[in-house]
Symmetry: C2
Subunit: 233 residues, 2 copies
């Protein structure tokens, strides 16, 4: 009888934004696994720390941040092997995932490697997009408005076209692309109304008009643009 692979969405960073289901899954798991950058404390673990059972076995998946895909894929291969061993021994494994496991989450790489062989459960979490919009008090979408989530690393012309096509936009992973994205928004006449949100719900959270945003911005930063915001008006 093998254990269950549980992808646990932890929400955007404030431990109070974990769900009851997430807390229960973490507190009862004999094994917890989480990604971490080499030689860096895991943000996922820090969010869940208070609820991890004393004596739980911890599997750290060290994922290098490289442009090439191979090193990260190798890290997930190794992590999946170690998780697989625990599941085969009958232990449930809670994989700690910042935000929502299936929304730009590394859990997908583990799921792809393990879900065919083991029972799997996914606990959705509050996304950084919902968190940023709540903290900035800016609506994401109302009525028949279209929301598009755009990764900041995409080419400027593609970002511009997608912003034009949507009523509401969340631009993720802004980081070093901030200046370039700000130029796109300026051209579209939307820079004035755009909001910059950094590390929403974390202690270091910063919310600023885009014009005052740091350039380059940290990786965990976002730009919100609301064109419709229908009920807001």
């Amino acid at each position: 009888m093998s254990g269950t692979l549980i992808g646990v969405g932890l929400g955007p960073g404030d431990p109070d934004l974990m769900t009851l289901a997430a807390v229960r899954a973490i507190a009862t798991a004999p094994v917890v696994a989480y990604p971490a950058l080499p030689d860096t404390p895991s943000l996922a673990r820090s969010i869940a720390a208070e609820h991890i059972a004393a004596g739980a076995h911890e599997i750290v998946i060290e994922v290098p941040m490289t442009k090439a895909r191979e090193p990260a894929q190798a890290a997930y291969d190794l992590g999946a092997e170690r998780i697989s061993a625990a599941l085969s021994s009958g232990a449930d494994v809670a994989v700690l995932c910042e935000g929502d496991p299936l929304f730009y989450g590394s859990f997908m790489y583990l799921h792809a490697r393990l879900a065919r062989r083991f029972p799997t459960r996914i606990i959705p979490g509050v996304t950084s997009v919902s968190a940023a919009s709540a903290r900035a008090a800016r609506p994401l979408a109302a009525r028949n408005e279209v929301l598009t989530v755009i990764p900041g690393p995409l080419p400027s012309d593609e970002i511009g076209a997608r912003i034009e096509a949507a009523s509401s936009v969340a631009i993720m992973k802004v980081g070093r692309h901030l200046g370039r994205i700000r130029d796109v928004l300026t051209t579209l006449g939307l820079a004035e109304s755009a909001t910059y949100v950094e590390r929403a719900t974390l202690a270091e959270e910063r919310i600023l008009p885009l014009s005052e945003a740091p350039d380059p911005a940290p990786y965990f930063s976002m730009i919100l643009v609301t064109k419709g915001a229908d009920p807001w008006l």
Copy 2:
């Protein structure tokens, strides 16, 4: 000293998908407010029921489901008046919101009417999109993929163009538009791989290949289309 208006995201329906922050806000609020269809029990209240304090005052906002905007706007005017009276008396008011308050949530209409006059706090919640993707075990977006959320009532040609432009799509509020949307997906060659999700995480949840979906579908239904799903492959 006036009370605080608190928009509380309750998540998609399973009470275990409420956040710790939401539970605390509900349990400590002297006044809770929530929308309901006329003569219909409130889904929002049913999600939060277990945590509402005994003796809490409840403000029911009866919102008619009409095509015309005026009747609903009048209902929010009246609801905002009653909430305003409670806030002015110094009581915090927790407004119960299915899903996330700023993601197609009626809380926006109350916020627009009250936020300039009273201290306001918004607690983000797990969206029905994250819930549907978790329950269907289908990824929303990875790496530099673009996710677009499309309301089903939009015209077919617009829905088609937006599906073509995105790597991943969640079509909301499918309801009576299901057949029309399925035709669009068939034309794009995406119907086979599309997943129908009804009332994700509720007791009546149904997850089916789009080809087996009921037509018309209930209002709380969604279609997920993942083109990239990169790590999934």
